[in-house]
Every structure is written in C-alpha cells, then in structure tokens.
C-alpha cells in the first residue's frame, strides 16, 4: 500500500506542478466570470445562463485534465524511460497503474474543488445567481465522470504511446458522451442488428451521460445518485484492471 501511495503522490505532484493544470484553472475562472457577464445581458430566467456556463467550464476543464494528464501517466513515462526506475523497484505493474490513477484522481479532486469554489464564490457574490444544492451535486457528479474519463485515458496510456492513447481516449470519451443517445436511437429502431449493437455498446462503452445532472431541476432520488456513483466506480475499476493486465505483458525497451 505504501508503494501505491508513493506512486500516487508522484503522479499528483507532477500534474499539479505542470503549466497545463494552472492554465486550465485560469480557463475555468475566465469562463465562470464570462458566465456572469453573459447572464447579466440575457433576458429572463436570471442566473440560468451563469449556472450552465459555469458547469460547462468545470466539465471541459475536468475532462481535459482527465484526458491529457491521464494519457501521459504511463505512456510518457515509458517514452522518457522514467518508468524503468520505478519498475526496477519492488513495484508490480498493477500497483503502478492504480497508484498513477489515484494520483490523477487527486488532481481531478483539486481541480474540481477549486473550480467549484470559484463557482460558489461568484454565485454567492452575485445578485441574480442563487446557489442551489442541485448545482453542487451536479459538480460532484461531474467529478465521477472525470474519474471514468481518467480511467479510460490511463488504460490507453498503458497500451500505447501518447499520441495513440490520445486518439483512442478521445474517441471513447466522445462515444461515451454520445453513448446513451446512440443506444436509445438504436433501441427505437425496428431492425434487430441495431438492438444487438446497442446491447454491445452498453457493455463496451461507458455511458458518460449518466453523470449529467441539471443544476436547474430537483435532485434525483438518493438511489439514482448511488447507482451513478457505483457505475463510475465499477467502470473505473474495470478499465484499470484491463489496463494493468495488458500492461503486464508489455516490454519496456
């Protein structure tokens, strides 16, 4: 457990000391402030645009951290040969993958927490933008989505180089964002083949739209929220185990 923790700390430290992390937080700040200005200029339904833009900013920033830090986690270390030093120590490849992912989860938590803090402070300081519990819970669920996206990019990072990992991660992320919609479309079709494809997609592609909770409506039931959390944990674990298993056969030249 100590080794996993040490690797997680290293991955966390590397990410938070990178310029990308800081730049994405600046982007969130600018977008949230932009939301206030746009919201002030909108007609009717005061505060709605602010919440939408702020949530979009947090979602974009978190997804980009999850994707671009995730694909670097193992692949870049292999390319730079920094991984040789870690794996020459008594560290299993599973420990390495889990440790790296936990470091990424920490980075995502910090990123989401800072973004949420900016969102709350601006909302509390505004006159038309009331802070709602649904708004905060929806940010928590964005975090669960980031974990799944991070697990996707970490898995591809163990299988290939950074460029290939980026291509596959973005592709699966996109399918995941469209996944629910595509499945529903296929299910409405009268042709069996679409039903089979939908069934396969449900198993093979994580449905990232499960984590979309509107800040404008009443909170879903606790059971629904619990299931979404469980869905994120199961998918993250499955992706990491798959990545670690494939990585155990990979040669580090």
């Amino acid at each position: 457990m100590t080794r996993v923790w040490v690797i997680a700390q290293g991955a966390f430290r590397e990410a938070v000391r990178s310029k990308v992390f800081v730049n994405l937080l600046v982007l969130v700040g600018l977008m949230v402030l932009g939301g206030v200005i746009i919201d002030a200029g909108s007609i009717g339904d005061a505060g709605r645009l602010y919440h939408d833009i702020a949530h979009a900013a947090i979602s974009i920033s978190g997804s980009m951290v999850a994707l671009f830090v995730g694909i670097q986690l193992v692949a870049a270390d292999i390319e730079r040969k920094t991984l040789h030093l870690l794996l020459a120590r008594p560290v299993t490849r599973l420990e390495l993958v889990v440790g790296k992912f936990l470091g990424l989860a920490g980075v995502l938590a910090v990123n989401t927490a800072i973004a949420a803090l900016i969102y709350c402070l601006v909302a509390l300081g505004g006159t038309t933008t009331a802070l709602t519990l649904a708004g905060l819970v929806s940010i928590l669920f964005l975090y669960f989505q980031f974990l799944v996206v991070g697990a996707i990019s970490t898995m591809f990072s163990t299988l290939s180089g950074t460029t290939t990992a980026a291509v596959y991660s973005i592709a699966l992320f996109t399918l995941g964002r469209l996944g629910g919609e595509l499945t529903r479309m296929a299910e409405r079709s009268s042709r069996d083949v679409f039903h089979q494809v939908a069934a396969l997609a449900r198993v093979a592609i994580p449905d990232l739209t499960r984590f979309d909770i509107s800040p404008h409506v009443a909170l879903p039931a606790v059971g629904t929220l619990g299931l979404a959390m469980l869905y994120a944990l199961v998918w993250s674990l499955a992706l990491l185990l798959l990545g670690a298993f494939a990585f155990s056969f990979r040669d580090l030249k």
């Binding site: 080794r3 690797i7 000391r17 920094t82 030093l85 794996l87 020459a88 008594p90 560290v91 040669d251």
Partner: protein
C-alpha cells in the same frame, strides 16, 4: 549464484508488419556473490536488453535464469537490487532529495531512516548541498551521480549499473569507481556494463563479453588479456639484417643501429623467428607484449565466428 542466466534471447516486433528483430540471441553467464562483474560489448550488442530482462522490464523470448535465487524480474529479487539505467532520465520537477526519498520508500525504507541516509548518499556522490535543487537544473554528470545514489538506497545486495561512467568527467568517474570499490568491500555484488575498458580492467573480477546478442567469453580480466597475449617482440643483433622471409605471423619493425625488431603472433611463429634470429645474428630478447583489454575485445568481436560461449574457469 547472484545472477545465473542460460540461453537468454529476446526478439522484438518492429514495423507495421511486426517483423521480428533479434536484440539478444543467446546470452549465458553466472555472477558470483561479492563479485564486480563487467558486462562489455559494442553498441547494439544487447547489453541493455539483457539487463532489462534481468529486471523483468522485458520478457525473454527464450531462455531464463535466476536473480538472487528468484526467477528473473521477481518482486522478491527486486527488493534486494539497486539499478541505474543507461542515460537515466528523472522527473525534472523533483528535487534531488525527493528522488532519493521516493526511491527509498519504494525500496521499503521508512522515512525516518531515509532522512538520515539521504544526506549521506548525496555526500557520497559529491552532491552535498544540492538536495533541494530541482533535477531539471542538474547537468548530465550530476544526473548520472544522483542516479548512482538512488541505486544505492536501501543498501541492496546487488547493484546493477548500466553504463555508470557515461557522461562523467574524471572526478565523476573517480567517485563512481570508489562507490563500486566500497560496495565490494562491504560484501555487495556489482554488475555493470561499460564501454570504458580501463574502468573494467581496474574494477572487475570477471567480465562477460557479448557481441551480436551472443556471449563470446566469460572470464576474468587476466584470463581475457592472457588469451590475447600470444604476441611477442624479438630483438636480434646483427650486421645488415633483413626481414625474416616466409614466416607467417612475423612482422618486421625495422632496425635501430644493428638491432632489429620483429613482432610475432603465435608460439609457432615465435619458434621460427627465434631460429631465424640465431641464424642471422645474436638473439637479444624475447618479450611478451601485453595487450590492452580494449585490443583483446576489439579482436574478439571482430573475429567472433563461433557463437557458442566459452565459459572459463571461475576464480
């Protein structure tokens, strides 16, 4: 045995079509406890790939062996090993102290002990006072030395150093040489690859010479040099000396005054040259010519025709 490998081979798949490329074809050797063992061979001969197979970073295609009594790459073996990769690349965002602490904690050391050991290690590689500097500010030689320091953390039984002298100035080489000598004095085993033959000659008890992915020889430095030592200089005094004719392996070096010099390769040719010297004048001296390890290695690699390894007697 600290390391024992037999018939180790590795094929990599390269290119779009996955063409097989043999990086290591047949490497076998044993490393005894408390030895300083040199691993030498030209660039691309498979040294680093072999080391990676020892550590489990690369899976052998064929062959196998043991490391500290465990299968190659086993976790139990890696607990007792320190490793310096060739041209080490470290996380530039880390401080030198942080790198050593991370390495130590991964090796199973507790933080309290590390706080005591890390300054000692920094001093040992002449980096005292640089512990709080980021590694991205370090020169190539300093990175090599901090790499050696991280390989020593946890007091490993076996230290594997891949080209430890690479990129070091004379002072750096002196430091690393002393580290290796000290490790041996403390009963540790050192396995290192190097292109710098004087270091191999000075430090190693035995060496394995590989070329084209195969072991050519496993022997002590003395044995290797002796094997290549069938060269002699013959001095003959005489009037108007002419080169010896028709003796294969004899090379006329000319005269100084009335003394002629002939370099001879092989004992059969030597006897012929001695007979020739006695017939044309006075035989002054027959001196064995000591070859450098570098010459022996260059010749062995160039003339390597028999892929079967020749395992000489261990000391």
């Amino acid at each position: 045995m600290v390391i024992s490998i037999r018939g180790l081979a590795k094929d990599f798949r390269v290119g779009v079509l996955g063409r097989r490329m043999a990086a290591v074809k047949d490497v076998s050797f044993d490393v005894l406890p408390n030895e300083v063992f040199g691993f030498i061979g030209p660039n691309g001969s498979g040294k680093s790939t072999t080391i990676h197979m020892l550590l489990g970073l690369v899976r052998p295609t064929r062959g196998g062996g043991t490391l500290l009594g465990h299968p190659l790459g086993a976790l139990a073996a890696r607990r007792q090993i320190g490793y310096l990769p060739e041209l080490p690349n470290f996380y530039g965002y880390l401080k030198a102290r942080e790198l050593l602490e991370i390495s130590g904690r991964l090796a199973g050391c507790d933080l309290g002990a590390l706080r005591r050991v890390v300054p000692e290690l920094l001093e040992r590689v002449d980096l005292a006072g640089r512990g709080e500097d980021l590694l991205r500010t370090f020169s190539k030689g300093m990175l090599q030395r901090i790499g050696v320091a991280q390989a020593l953390i946890g007091d490993p039984r076996l230290v594997i150093l891949d080209e430890p002298m690479s990129g070091l100035d004379p002072l750096g080489r002196h430091i690393v040489r002393n580290v290796i000598i000290d490790l041996k004095a403390r009963g540790r085993t050192v396995f290192f690859s190097s292109h710098i033959m004087p270091d191999i000659e000075t430090l190693c008890d035995r060496v394995a010479l590989i070329a084209d992915g195969r072991t050519l020889r496993v022997a002590s430095v003395e044995q290797l040099v002796r094997l290549g030592q069938e060269r002699f200089e013959v001095q003959v005094r005489g009037q108007q000396l002419q080169p010896p004719a028709g003796i294969a392996g004899a090379s006329w070096q000319g005269t100084v005054g009335d003394v002629g010099r002939v370099e001879v390769e092989g004992t059969a040719a030597l006897q012929q040259v001695i007979d020739w010297g006695r017939s044309v004048g006075e035989l002054l001296a027959v001196t064995p010519m000591r070859e450098s390890l570098e010459t022996v290695v260059v010749r062995a690699v160039a003339t390597a025709a028999d892929p079967a390894p020749k395992q000489e007697r261990t000391p």
